[in-house]
């Protein structure tokens, strides 16, 4: 009997050890570019859901914001042993501190309006190692919801199931429109990396496209061109302001869609392939406020020859148009206005002035006048002596 019991126990132990050994345990490591700094490393599994890890200690450049207009904090995120792709986000979070004034039922205090405002204190842009801006505050959607955090999508890693290293240059500046009194709350914000395993094949509740839908190309207001989607069933709709809506299918950049920088929104999976048919990036989009896995929006540069594949309706809003306050231009071309950095400046040609690069220092005039003055002094001196 004892032998049977010990046999059962050993078998159970063996099984549990084997299961744990084969379970998909990914490892994420985050470090900054300061030599000698300790990386922050943690593991996760598919069942972990969202894993939030504070990396505030790595945000060493934030203190320089008192001296500089903007700083760049470089973070390297390494994903290892991942069995599934992992979505990575940077999160600014209001620390929910225990309120000692209240009773145990209200152990966590509600953030004040200024604390919520602190989430918008920083203007943040994220640039990858190739110099592509993958997130820009300028085209971030206004989120009026009272979230205690703000997420900045950094993309999906480990899609090829190989270990992956990604460098993110996080450009941080202070938003001048946010009152300075929130600075003390902004300093308290926690900076976190949020990771979550993404099952690209099953995760998204993608709405099915009726197979009987008539293949068509609809150009609603643009008389200039008739986009031809790559697949017959695919459909491109282009608005007057250049916003493009893609239905399920594959599309060729340069033919179906203008080259340029877009903000992608929608729900479902998006794959972008280079002109050599190499997977450039995969994104899982979700509706705003949805609890599904994915990001609400994604900024991407689409270049001629690239192919974009979507499995559900996806909206591509030109980078500029997504935040423009002026009336849209008559031209639907994305490229004509895309990617302008100085958003406060009007892009209209009549406003921009040519910088004055002349050397207006009157050096020659001053030297000439000095010579004349010296002559005059000498002349007066001679005159005086003659009179004496």
């Amino acid at each position: 009997m004892k032998k049977l019991l010990s046999g059962i126990v050993s078998f159970a132990v063996m099984i549990s050890v084997s299961v744990s050994a084969f379970a998909a345990t990914g490892e994420i490591s985050v470090k900054n570019n300061i030599n000698g700094s300790e990386p922050i490393t943690y593991t996760y599994t598919e069942k972990s859901g969202q894993v939030v890890k504070s990396v505030k200690t790595l945000m060493t450049k934030l203190s320089d914001l008192s001296k500089e207009d903007s700083v760049i904090q470089t973070l390297t995120v390494t994903s290892k042993n991942a069995d599934l792709p992992v979505s990575v986000k940077l999160r600014l979070e209001i620390p929910l501190e225990s309120d000692t004034q209240t009773g145990p039922q209200e152990a966590v205090s509600t953030p004040s309006p200024d604390e919520y405002l602190a989430l918008d204190y920083y203007d943040i842009n994220v640039i990858d190692a190739s110099g592509n801006k993958i997130y820009s505050d300028e085209d971030a959607m206004n989120d009026d919801s009272q979230n205690t955090y703000r997420d900045i999508p950094l993309g999906i890693m480990n899609e090829s199931r190989n270990d992956e290293n990604q460098i993110f240059n996080i450009e941080i500046s202070v938003d001048d429109n946010v009152k300075s009194s929130v600075e003390k709350y902004a300093n308290k914000l926690d900076w976190c990396i949020v990771t979550e395993a993404v099952n690209l094949s099953t995760a998204q509740p993608v709405q099915s496209i009726a197979p009987t839908a008539t293949p068509s190309v609809t150009v609603t207001t643009v008389p200039t061109s008739t986009p031809q989607p790559t697949e017959e069933s695919a459909e491109v709709k282009e608005d007057k302001d250049g916003t493009v809506t893609l239905s399920k299918g594959k599309f060729l950049v340069g033919r179906d869609i203008d080259e340029g920088r877009y903000t992608m929104t929608g729900e479902g999976k998006v794959h972008v392939y280079t002109s050599e048919d190499v997977l450039k990036t995969s994104i899982v989009l979700k509706k705003k406020g949805s609890k599904n896995t994915g990001v609400e929006k994604y900024v991407i540069n689409l270049q001629e020859g690239e192919t974009i594949e979507v499995d559900n309706d996806t909206v591509l809003t030109p980078y500029e148009a997504s935040k423009a306050t002026a009336k849209p231009t008559s031209s639907p071309k994305v490229s004509s206005s895309s990617s302008s950095k100085a958003t406060s400046k009007p892009s209209s040609t009549s406003e921009k002035s040519n910088p004055k690069t002349g050397d207006n220092m009157p050096v020659t005039t001053l030297i000439s006048l000095s010579v004349i003055a010296i002559g005059a002094v000498i002349f007066i001196e001679i005159k005086k002596r003659k009179n004496d």
């Binding site: 071309k333 990617s339 100085a342 400046k345 690069t357």
Partner: protein, 254 residues
Amino acid sequence: MKVKKILTLIQVLLILFIVVCCIFVGKYFYDCKNAQVEYENLQDVVEKYPRVDASGNYIEERDDNGILLSYSNLYKQNNDMVGWIKISDTKIDYPVVRSKDNEYYLHRDFSKNSQYSGIPFMDYESQDISSNYIIYAHNMKDGSMFADLLKYEDKSFYDSHSTIIFDDLYERGEYQILGVFTTKVGANNEFRYHDYANITDGEKFSEYIKKVKELSCYDTGITAEYGDKLITLSTCAYHTSNERFVVVAKKIIK
């Protein structure tokens, strides 16, 4: 006696005037010299990593963030840096920066300190996606910044110096000059080339090239088509007031 006193007073005032002028002019040249020393220090940093090795191959040593090693240290000093410009046999050998407007670096140096001569800066609209990078710099009377650009008025100088080096942070680049022109700001026939800082379509590109070729002081025999990357160097010319001298080149080594 009264006349003598007046003459003495005039003499004193003139001497004061001379002293003020000397201080003013001295400071101007002192600042210019300091600026030049600072840029020479930056050049030393860059020259630690030569562009071409002995066999003539490009060296592409990069930092962790993908930036060419030559420029990664400078980029860490000022993350507005977007590249480096150099024209042989001229003083043009400077870093290029880009800000959110076209004013910030007019009178600031690489360390963002106030400096009259400023630093070459790229038009804020010339983002990576643009086919044309416009770079402005002062035409300094001491010959620094883009003063030497005016040497291109002389065709013989062009014949012996027809290429410009412009490296961005990630890629080395050599550009072939295709046009040299002047235009007067505010004139009826002004060519507003600075409105072409963000060229992202073929139509605008062709329009720009056509106008550049039309205005060019001499025929270079070089043209460009959409897909080529252009660089436009601009500085003030002093032939008439508010005149600009512009050199346009296209990338030949990718």
